[in-house]
Amino acid sequence: MEIIYILWLRQLKRYFRSKSRIIGSLGQPLLFLLAFGFGFGSIYQKAGEGNYIQFLAPGIIAMSILFTAVFSGTEIIWDKQFGFLKETLVAPVSRLKIMLGRTLGGATVAVFQGLIVLVISLFAGFKIQNTSMLLTALLFMALIAVLFTALGTAIASVLEDMQGFQLIINFLIMPLFFLSGALFPIDGLPKTIAVITRINPLAYGIDGLRGALINSMHFGFTTDFLVLGSLVIILMVIGSYLFDKIQI
């Protein structure tokens, strides 16, 4: 337990000591929230769908969690390059514990980042409809965070250096975000897009978050929870396996 805690703490310390990283990673969600929120706001209203900021904010919160989580997971590559990874790899500690400590640390950071965006979106006009559901919202934020930190860790375990990273951003993370329903409702989509959003795990996270924050859902809490929960377990197992196989 102490091993998981100390590795978790390490991730947090690294994050909170890097002020530029905290501020820097707020730029993108902020831009999306303001540009899309106010840019498409009136069209969305005219289409009879209501307030766009209200719809968009949970999606942007999820987006900031997604990016922070994947980045945290890929810190393994940095540790590989700066040599620290060796220190953990030769430690007489189960790989699952290392994986858990790192993942929970990265996920905590990601949730924190999501909470900052939530607060910012309140200033942009977002209103939480049901404050009693805040804990549920937090649960879904945590699920998204753990899921994508574990994914980032798994990917980073098989990457040699940061050069492969751009590939991941453009071909995995961006599509995950754009085809998740973060920016548009997923009812009434063309067939292909509808299928893609249904197999996109982020869509379930955003759905859960929206359900908790603004009472609007597509899949329902049970489906969202089961999909995310089982994926978290699967990815943790895959991640530990790949982590175990790292050779340096």
Partner: protein, 264 residues
Amino acid sequence: MENIIIVKNLTKKFGNFTAVDNVSFDVREGTIFAFLGPNGAGKTTTIKILTTLLNPTSGELKINGHDPVKEEHETRSSFGIVFQDPSLDEELTAYENMKLHSVLYGVPKAIREKRIEEMLKFVELWDRKNSFVKHFSGGMKRRLEIARGLLHHPKILFLDEPTLGLDPQTRNHIWNYLQDLNKKENITIFFTTHYIEEAEKVAKDVAIIDNGIIVAQGTPDELKQKTKTSMLEDAFLNLTGRKIREEEAGAIDHLRMRRRVFHR
């Protein structure tokens, strides 16, 4: 005396390059064993294999009775290591690095703080315990790595060029401590170095590796007799030749650079 490390016909290939070629040697329990060789001879690769960081291409290994490939966890519980290249977390302070290590290596809580203080004082970094490692000089980082490696007392201690870049005073200081540790706790010390006179002074057993092949092994005296030399350094040069090994060292670097984005 028992052999605590047994290496039989160990081979490691990276693509077409054979870094370690059919190497065999044993290390007696409780000895101080110097593993010497020119740059790129295969020393670090061998240590990486012995310490579970790399899998061998073929060969049989036993570390404290365990197979590093199949019994990774038991093997890891048997040794401590100071790496050749940096392995500190630069974003943490010296103390935090020590704390993290002591938890990972299961140093009992009761003695943890005392041990950290003792080791940081030993390498004269106690005053800087709350400084970030990124602000340390090369020598300070090296000392911190050594202090960290000595936090727990395993059965075997691997030291890959531990004293590289340190002044004679510090090297002396550290070797006195290591010899004491070896005597008092019967810890087997396996080290590499380019300071041959250092090996001559402290090593009880020596193996010399060159181009991935063991060219000689025995006590320092045996090696000197065999080559009819009076200093281990001369014996070393006799056995490995006087050619400078930049090429071999470069080969591995090139290979590393050429490796694909995905290493699987």
